[in-house]
């Protein structure tokens, strides 16, 4: 079946603007994760959803970052008052039930804040 999809693939915005990044997980996967990857680094964890609820948001860097998953499928990562330091690739992953399972990643959204 289809893998994890993310839109948009690229996003350019200006400092101070608001952005939304979307993730559509693999069908039937109840667990969804957001990571952020800077150039030359490995992905860094942001937030984990089990169903509709955020089970672990310990990786969100500050209160400008927020994520939702209202129906337990598609998730949106929201960034307010963007800063140049927010420029990175935002990756979404999903797994069947969470727990100690393989996470399958989407292609990412490349965010550039000018």
């Amino acid at each position: 079946g289809a893998g994890v999809s993310q839109t948009p693939s690229n996003k350019v915005t200006e400092k101070g603007k608001y952005v939304e990044l979307r993730c559509d997980p693999i069908s039937g996967h109840t667990a969804l994760y957001w990571y952020r990857q800077s150039l030359g680094q490995g992905p860094e964890f942001l937030i984990y959803f089990q169903g509709t609820g955020a089970a672990d948001d310990s990786g969100l860097p500050n209160d400008r970052f927020f994520a939702v998953r209202p129906e337990g499928s598609v998730s949106t990562l929201k960034i307010q008052r963007t800063e140049r330091g927010d420029s990175a690739v935002y990756l979404c992953a999903s797994s069947f039930q969470g727990s100690w399972e393989t996470q399958y990643f989407g292609p990412g959204t490349r965010l550039l804040v000018l």
Binding site: Y33, P43, A55, G59, G98, W100
Partner: protein
């Protein structure tokens, strides 16, 4: 604090020249160690999961092994299409279900 260190940072091989990539880790309560491949401009692609010391897994020219302190990704007779960044990540009992990644090893295989 959990740590994952990959070495070398970059590796250049001739086609057919076998080698190994290293992932050393310090975590409390390892739940799983994962290897991913990442091509430029794409998301990580899952390769292997290892759960306990002594475990080995193979796929085509790749073989992953695990000890209590490190994992190796052995590449046998690599081809240019094996060129990519290889990422190692761990899941630890005290860190929820988040993956903790190393910085990766960038592999270039030349014809």
């Amino acid at each position: 604090e959990d740590q994952v260190t990959q070495s070398p940072e970059a590796l250049r091989l001739q086609e057919g020249e076998s080698s190994s990539l290293n992932c050393s880790y310090t975590v409390s309560g390892l739940r799983g160690l994962f290897w991913y491949r990442q091509d430029p401009g794409k998301g990580p692609e899952f390769l292997f999961t290892l759960y306990s010391a002594g475990e080995e897994k193979e796929k085509e020219r790749l073989k992953a092994t695990l000890t209590k302190k490190e994992s190796f990704l052995h590449i046998t007779a690599p081809k240019p299409e094996d060129s990519a960044t290889y990422l190692c990540a761990v899941q630890a009992g005290g860190s929820g279900y988040a993956l903790n990644f190393g910085k990766g090893t960038s592999l270039l295989v030349t014809p």
